[in-house]
């Protein structure tokens, strides 16, 4: 996939959460804002359900992307934070993401949400397995 291919992907992923898996429950949450065609902010979170699907819900965050050059809480370079107990445990730099991904990191920030959605949908199982390993459990089965 080339950079140009991002242009064919159309609208950015819609805000909200998408189920990636049900047993255990896994959600990809995304929220992005645009200002005159430029990406203003992006938050994406990979959420893991400690509950069983259909039961009372209890979610934890295991991976986070946040991009917002104009916010003190934001960042001006795309990266991912591995999260444990609500705290950043490890950071994956843009280069590490690019080395890991099957698609390039776009040069234009407009396409960051497209990249993040594609990357996370491709790699979520590995992050879930790492989380379960850290917690000493094994619920996810391929």
């Amino acid at each position: 996939m080339s950079i140009d291919d991002f242009r064919s992907l159309g609208s950015p992923p819609p805000d909200g959460a998408d189920y990636l898996h049900y047993d255990p429950p896994v959600l990809l949450f995304m929220s992005s804002t645009y200002d005159e065609g430029e990406l203003g902010s992006l938050i994406a979170k990979l959420l893991y359900g400690i509950h069983n699907y259909g039961d009372g819900e209890d979610w934890v965050e295991i991976l986070r992307f946040d991009y917002n050059p104009s916010s003190e809480m934001g960042h001006d370079e795309l990266h991912a934070d591995v999260v444990r107990e609500d705290e950043k445990a490890e950071t994956l730099s843009r280069k590490e993401l690019e080395d890991d991904a099957s698609i390039p990191v776009p040069r234009e920030s407009y396409y960051y949400p497209h990249f993040v959605a594609s990357y996370t949908r491709d790699k979520w199982a590995r992050f879930v397995e790492e989380y379960e390993k850290d917690k000493g459990m094994r619920r996810y089965r391929k």
Binding site: D18, H21, T33
Partner: protein
Amino acid sequence: MSSTGDSAEENSLEDMSYEEIRELSPNELVRISPVRHHPSKTPPEED
């Protein structure tokens, strides 16, 4: 989606700032978000 038991102000994503969304707990985030199911998978049957 069921309630998560977090403090439940009636917010929606559209009304919230980047900072507010970033700081939301995962349970609250799911509670206020549109949640979409995987088109090629059927959720497990609920008893």
